[in-house]
Amino acid sequence: MRSLSFWAVLCGAALVQPFTLGGWGFLGAALAQPSGTLRLYTSQPDADAQQTASAFQAAYPGVSVEIFRSGTEEVISRFLLEAEAGSPQADVLLVADAPTFELLKSRNLLDPYCSPEAEAIDPAYYDPDCHYFGTKILATVIVYNTALAEPIDSWAALAQLPKGQVVMPSPTYSGAAAYNLGVITRTPGLGWEWYEALKNNNTVLVQGNGAVARNVASGEQRYGMVVDFLAIRNRNEGSPVEVIYPSEGVPIITEPVGVVKGAANREAAQAFVDFLLSQKGQQVAVDIGYMPLREDVAPPEGFPALSELTLLSAPPAELAETREADKARFAELFGE
């Protein structure tokens, strides 16, 4: 009796063994589908991140996505803390801007992956070494309250308004604002003088882009400097606001995605990158209300085409390097 059960166990083990040790790999290759849990760290607004994750899960039914979301700086703080402790908990990162990823790249925390989908995208929007890829266009624009104010056409005009009418996010808190600070101070004709003019004009600082959109919609300030999709979303819902793309051009951030070095689920993380860059993934972004990166996907209603925009930019690596110094100088200037 005992020997019978012994053989039974042995046979069972022989059957199971190939699966556990990958002995049936030829079968697995035929079904090469990522599976398991994908841990996504993102600064996308809650509902948007959820929608992105759901669309990805629909395309890859074997994967379940776990989201951690917060402001860019908090997400990165947490990620760095975990990476420093030797156990990064994220498989893939999707946060505000390229300089942030440059920082991670320089610390050797990203796993390069050259996604085949990147061919359809302008090389300006991704890292040539494949550490991160832009996923959408978030332009910083002027928003104004249509019930209280007249349109203006340029960043220069924004700094010449009567006192106390302008609101903008503080670069010490907002990742996008910190990026804009780096770019605008390097733009001829604007530079630090432009920020000084804003300061002398009693420009109001708030914590983030969401607060700018709110303050302008409620009329607390008449003009604001804000990420375009928030203002366009407010306008489409019926708030009394309108968006202006200034004549000098707009700084853009691309909300890049990158695979984490040592990710527990590398296959799923790479599939996530592919998905976000694919036509389908870009269409999901459009449905949420973002401007896509691919030229073969039409932007959502109310956005100008990518080719119509004048872009203000600076090399991400350089921006990453001077970011802290720029922020410190800004804080000193505004007495924050």
């Binding site: 959820q50 908090e74 607390e220 924050e336």
Partner: protein, 556 residues
């Protein structure tokens, strides 16, 4: 040092000490180590940075000012409110009480936002008054130290109020009556009898309110940043998010700076021991009849309540009901869409509700149990080891939540015990809540222990009762009001908690405060307002139920 520790309660205390070690002590130790090192080696650079940076001094001065002023204000208002609701026959006092308790469950960020919509430059109150007075331009500004003080005191008022009510409910009826019979008038009774007897509770209220105001981030963030009024929590936040450039070490050093006021208050409290004279007899004391003027007083109080509580809640409701932000308030612009969304579509709101309920009740139960043992030891035993224990209790509360959360991550991420991985689970959030809110439950319970005469225990032990028996049959019933207050305080604080879960919660471990904050930060302020409003309504229902189930219980 160990002389006083030959008491039968010591094994229990040892258990509590072990728990505290893991929830409070070890994380703070790790944090201190960060503060005193740079790139892994011992260094005083961070402390030097503290001393040499003018911005730090400015922030410290600002923070001490707003915290002290708002504590004073909250204490006065809390006392007034406690007297009105406990000791008078003022009409409508129940409603006033519940309304003033509501800031307990509104996350401070949301409260500040509601206030901006109510009394800010384009708020309904300012617009209305401008129209009435035919005035142009802003009548006042919320983005000032005054605005911050006002909101901080509103935010801490429920804490002072509940603590003082717990004290009032333990006042002996006979003491006051005797004084009245001897010819003392009401004022004299208050000055010479009641207030001195309340002192332990006043002390507890001041400590809780001051530390709560000092560590609060949401209010100075929303009012201080536009007003360019830097405070310690906003400075700390700036440093935390500058993590990449060695900000964590500087944040840890700043966190130590936060610890100083806690040490100071702790010292104050320890000098004041053995307060006696509050009688455990649980009889309601005399109520003053106000006569005709009660209607006048009621009217005045209700106007104040409308201005500072109902108005902002109304503004929040308007935000939740408007089709889009910034539209004028009229019927055609109203919609229930945002409510429908958070109730039916937002699946995570359901999960978050369950999580927050579980976490808040768990934290309330466990921390009150720990507080009973701790409070007993702190008032009955004399040993310097106890000083360390109470320091361990108070520090996580004195520190801003984000710092305590970071220190917990430092500890639990590499997993200190093999095979036990709590990082990324609800358990870690529960640990965080325990560590942070234990001070809340300890204050009223310790005050109650202090006022319980030891003769009761001695009598019981002469009659042969052991510690557990005398606790169950004699002491516990006497502690009930304080215990109720403690559990309520912790539950309400934990239910809408944000700063800890901001770093510790994630997908699958959502909490309500975290969800509201996420919605608001992502530009969904109307949905956030709708969810907050539902939260407040839920509180009102809970408070009403407690009132009905337990007439004459702790909070009236």
């Amino acid at each position: 040092m160990w002389k006083g520790l030959k008491h039968p309660v010591v094994p229990w205390l040892f258990g509590v000490g072990v728990v505290l070690f893991f929830t409070n002590f070890y994380p703070l130790l790790m944090l201190m180590q960060r503060g005193l090192s740079r790139e892994g080696a011992f260094s005083l650079d961070n402390l030097r940075w503290l001393l040499e940076t003018p911005r730090v001094h400015l922030a410290l001065r600002h923070s001490l000012f707003v915290a002290a002023t708002s504590t004073g204000l909250a204490l006065l208002a809390g006392l007034l409110l406690a007297v009105v609701t406990r000791k008078t026959d003022l009409p409508g006092r129940g409603g006033i009480r519940i309304l003033f308790l509501s800031p307990l469950v509104i996350p401070p960020q949301v409260l500040a936002l509601a206030w901006i919509q109510w009394a800010g430059p384009v708020g309904y109150l300012q617009q209305g008054l401008r129209w009435l007075l035919h005035r142009q331009g802003a009548l006042w500004s919320l983005y000032t130290p005054g605005g911050i003080v006002l909101l901080l005191s509103l935010f801490t008022l429920p804490i002072t109020y509940l603590t003082l009510v717990a004290g009032l409910s333990r006042l002996q009826k006979q003491t006051e009556e005797a004084a009245r019979l001897d010819g003392a008038n009401v004022l004299q009774v208050w000055l010479y009898i009641t207030l001195p007897l309340l002192r332990p509770y006043v002390g507890a209220a001041v400590v809780l309110a001051f530390l709560g105001a000092l560590g609060n981030f949401g209010i100075p963030a929303l009012l201080g940043i536009p007003g360019r009024y830097i405070t310690l929590p906003t400075l700390l936040y700036q440093e935390v998010i500058n993590f990449s450039s060695g900000g964590l070490g500087r944040s840890a050093a700043l966190a130590m700076l936060f610890g100083l006021p806690a040490l100071f208050f702790l010292g104050l409290q320890h000098r004041r021991r053995g307060q006696e004279g509050l009688d455990p007899s649980h009889e309601p004391t005399e109520r003053y009849t106000l006569g005709r003027v009660r209607w006048l007083w009621s009217g005045i109080l209700w106007v104040v309540t409308l201005g500072v509580i109902v108005g902002p809640l109304f503004a929040m409701a308007a935000t939740a009901l408007l089709r889009a932000y910034g539209l004028p308030l009229n019927w055609s612009n109203l919609t229930f869409e945002h409510f429908r969304f958070v109730i039916f579509d937002l699946e995570r709101a359901h999960r978050a509700t369950v999580h927050s309920l579980g976490l808040a009740s768990g934290a309330a139960l466990i921390s009150s149990s720990l507080a009973i043992i701790l409070g007993y030891c702190l008032t009955r035993l004399r040993s310097s080891a106890l000083l360390l224990l109470s320091l361990m209790v108070d520090l996580p509360y004195a520190l801003p939540g984000i710092i305590f959360a970071l220190s917990l991550i430092l500890v639990w991420l590499p997993s200190p015990l093999p095979g036990l991985s709590l990082y990324g689970t609800l358990w870690l959030i529960l640990i965080a809540y325990l560590g942070r809110f234990l001070a809340f439950s300890l204050q009223p319970i310790q005050a109650a222990w202090r006022s319980l005469d030891t003769s009761l225990e001695e009598a019981a032990s002469i009659d042969g009762a052991d510690l557990v028996q005398s606790f169950r049959h004699i002491l516990l019933p006497l502690l009930t009001p304080a215990l109720g207050a403690a559990m309520l305080l912790v539950f309400l604080q934990a239910f809408g908690e944000l700063t800890l879960s901001a770093l510790l919660a994630g997908s699958g471990t959502e909490t309500l405060g975290w969800l509201i904050f996420g919605l608001q930060q992502g530009g969904f302020s109307q949905q956030a307002a709708a969810l907050s409003l539902l939260l407040v309504i839920a509180l009102f229902v809970v408070a009403a139920l407690i009132n009905r189930l337990r007439p004459g219980s702790v909070d009236e």
